[in-house]
Amino acid sequence: MKSRPKPYVFPEYCKGCGRCIDSCPKGCITMGKEVNPLTGLIPIELSLDQCSGCGLCISACPEPFGLRAQETEFEFELTDPKSFNGPRPKPLVKPFAIPGEVIPFAQTESLVTKGTYASAIGALLAGCRHFFGYPITPSTEGAELMAKLLPDLDGVFIQAVSEVATVNMMYGCSGAGLPCMTFTSSPGFSLMLEGISYSIGAELPGVFVNIMRGGPGLGNLGPEQADIKLVCRGLGHGNTHAIVLAPYTPQEMLDLTMLAFELTFKYRNPVIIVGDGYMGQMTGRVNLPKTMIKPGIPEWAVYGDESHRGNLICSIELNEADLERNNIHINNKYRQMTQNEQRADLYHCDDAEIILMACNTPARMAKGAVRELRKQGLKVGLFRPITLWPFPIDLLKPILSHTKQIITVEAGNGQLEDELRMALSHHNLECPSIDHVRRFGGILPQLKEIIEKVISVEEVLA
């Protein structure tokens, strides 16, 4: 019979817990008498004359480098554990990426479809085959379409037990490096914030479509824009930001969802799409793009294969200096987003003296107002931020010289206006007079009241 290996222990890796002592049927192990100067703990002592090599003590030792079996005869005091453990059977390989592909997509006629569907279709075109969500009006149709189509695309749809579970399933799927998304609405989005903060900390992608409804609390199901503060300034705890995209047509629901997937992987940071309830529910014309995406697997992913074994998805940095460094790194990403990703649509702004500022559905009413007022000869324009964060201040700046008045139009209590004011202040720009049209509770600002506001302001200016 082959003699079984006997145990050995490095005193500095023994915590002196004594669990091995009782485990030895031969009484080979005793508590030591001397405090180890390196650890401040008292390691055990072995006297192996009676040892049968049963290994029970090894199984009783909680420390990975505590009691171990001697594979060969050697002087272990002279050997460091690295060489003693021998070559690693499965050495770590340096993580590498598996690249994605851009695939041509045949030209098609326009679809006639609703906003949430358009967004879901955009996600499929962007390569998303994993969806996690919890039903909530008025966003659920997006999830329903995913549930219908994903099985035919060998994708996965999971209805989570809550929005909290949703965002954490996304965390796992994104952690594996795959594109995934959810549709939700205001109260559900509130529940996802902790997970979004974790995703930002762990540098994970993920696309969140928040079809905002009336609040606070349960509020109602009507269209509102009162989560702008939340998505621009309140993405959970910590120094968090994410690119926030605000579509204003079903077409943009598709286009901006595709863009969201691109940006979320580009920056390894979540991207939020916000629309008011109408944006989710409205049906309209949607043209499909000329290409679609087959995603790869990024280098950093924890996919569960050899090439990604060395990776870690984690938002913990215990050491203050490390966490500060991580924050600086994340803040640098925010700076890059701010520099590169500002987007806005300017309508009749070139010579405008009065600028309407609105996003989502209210931007449509505002655009209608601009059209009417231009007919009356008033120099009115519409500045429509497409990215709410970063606020597109660089695009606003050039037209400020001839702007006498900005009127924000929103279904909320000035949250878009606050973004504007903050951006002006951060850029030391002289703040023109700012007025507003605000509705709440599921009521959108109407064309008529926007026009009335502009005319009343114009009278003062004149």
Partner: protein, 482 residues
């Protein structure tokens, strides 16, 4: 054991400096270390190191990623099973292990563990029950024993704090899991058994059979304020009566879990989203300026089954087919269930701006409340079409609207399908307003019914009867069948 599953050097533990490079952060004698060791052995023996994704929780074992040379993800408090599911469905070949303590799994994360168990997707859960919160400093856990003193039950757990929660038993009675066992670490026999249970739970996943849950009664000498030896005895004498060891469920299952690789065939996707390269014919001579200069606003209103939304969709589609812009906003939420159902539609020459229709050019009313509610808001000179088989005494509006009563329902019933009353309404809409040519509507109807071709003739007929009724060519039968 010659395990390669632990890193040779714990680089993530205080940057791998000093002794921390080779020792854990656990207190002496902590049960976590043993569970780690058995987990590492199982991964090694099953030869799944490259495929393993280990999800660490929040709690004392939050830093598992310091030690295990596998793919590592650290989850938010309580959410490890949700994170694990995300990993598993992203790569079904990966072997995903969700490791949690009692605060994490049995308190804050109850919903996540119950759902994961219910889904039964093969992941392996290792649940460390040491009857106390370790990391936060010895507070009451859901598994704390009665009368046990903790920092948040300083006088001992009493009735108002509830009784200890038996997770293994709870999980075992859910249909999803196939293997549930409670094991312990307090002597050689138990340790040997724990090792086997942990390995078995993972093996079932490797074989694609199902969800496993292994609860490990572990020692937290620090917060029990005992030596490790005393803690072992405490687990044996005090915990065992409350948390009996043994197999709670072991239900043989054939391997079943398999997911195909996601499909990225553009033709398939095009077909699924309803994309077509077929050009749609146009029939309209131009925008119907006679209704409104550049933007026509419609409202369709009725009750749940009237088909107002479908009719609205068809008008929208017809408008877009003709190269105009069109939008449709349905009523949604509780309003759309059973009660009223209304739709706002716009057709614009270039771009729909305000998509809501508070003051429509055209109102189609399927019932009396809708007519009464929206009729007064129709624009001066606008058109109202209502179902005269339902609304027998329409209110009188004094604001210059033209009102047509068309028996939508009666005609549809005569045709043998009450469902097509909305198509009758569209026929009448066409006849009364000439918003689009007849062929435009019929094309939109055929497109919508392309998967239900058998329904096309009756719909065409309904449309035709809508026109005839407008022209006075429909005789209302003497006796209403309504």
């Amino acid at each position: 054991m010659k395990s390669s599953i632990f890193y040779e050097k714990f680089e993530r533990h205080a940057h791998g400096e000093g002794l921390k490079a080779n020792s854990t952060h656990y207190c002496p004698g902590c049960g976590h270390g043993l569970a780690h060791k058995y987990l590492a052995e199982a991964i090694d023996e099953l030869q799944i190191q490259n495929r393993t994704v280990l999800v660490s929780p929040v709690g004392c074992s939050v830093f598992m990623y310091y030690y295990f040379d596998v793919g590592n993800t650290q989850a938010a408090h309580g959410r490890a099973p949700a994170v694990a599911l995300g990993h598993k469905v992203a790569n079904p070949e990966s072997i995903v292990i969700s490791y949690q303590g009692d605060g994490d799994l049995a308190s804050i994360g109850l919903a996540e563990i119950i759902q994961a168990a219910q889904l039964g997707i093969p992941i392996s859960v290792i649940f460390i029950n040491n009857a106390i919160y370790g990391m936060t400093g010895g507070q009451l856990a859901p598994t704390t024993l009665m009368e046990q003193k903790t920092s948040t039950s300083p006088h001992g757990r009493n009735r108002i704090m509830g009784q200890p929660l038996r997770m293994a038993e709870m999980i075992a009675q859910i249909d999803g899991p196939m293997y549930v066992e409670r094991v312990a670490l307090f002597d050689n026999k138990q340790r040997n058994h724990a090792k086997k249970a942990i390995k078995k739970g993972i093996q079932l996943q490797v074989e694609g059979r199902g969800f496993s849950f292994v609860e490990v009664l572990a020692e937290c000498p620090t917060h029990l304020k005992m030596t490790p030896q005393e803690a072992e005895i405490w687990v044996r004498d005090k915990m065992l009566p409350v948390f009996p060891l043994g197999v709670k469920k072991d239900e043989p299952r054939e391997p079943w879990f398999k997911l195909n690789k996601p499909n990225f065939d553009p033709n398939k996707l095009k077909e699924l989203v309803g994309g077509t390269s077929d050009k749609v014919a146009r029939f309209s001579p131009g925008f119907p300026h006679h209704i409104s200069p550049s933007d026509i606003s419609l409202k369709l209103a009725g009750s749940g089954g009237d088909g107002a939304q479908t009719a609205a969709m068809l008008i929208t589609r017809a408008g877009i087919n003709e190269g105009f812009d069109a939008t449709h906003i349905p009523s949604y939420g509780p309003e759309s269930r059973g009660g009223t159902s209304y739709a706002d539609v716009h057709v614009a020459e270039t771009e729909v701006l305000s998509p809501a229709s508070p003051n429509p050019n055209i109102l189609i009313a399927f019932n009396a409340p809708s007519l009464a509610k929206f009729g007064p808001h129709v624009q001066n000179g606008g058109t109202i079409i209502y179902d005269s088989s339902i609304i027998t005494a329409p209110p009188i509006f004094n604001h210059g609207t033209i009102i047509y009563g068309i028996p939508f329902t009666q005609i549809a019933m005569d045709l043998g399908k009450v469902m097509v009353k909305n198509i009758v309404a569209l026929g009448a809409l066409h006849a009364a307003t000439d918003i689009f040519p007849k062929e435009t509507f019929l094309t939109a109807i055929r497109q919508a019914l392309k998967d239900k071709c058998a329904m096309i003739p009756i719909n065409e007929e309904a449309f035709e009867w809508g026109i005839r009724a407008y022209n006075g060519e429909y005789e209302f039968p003497g006796e209403s069948v309504l």
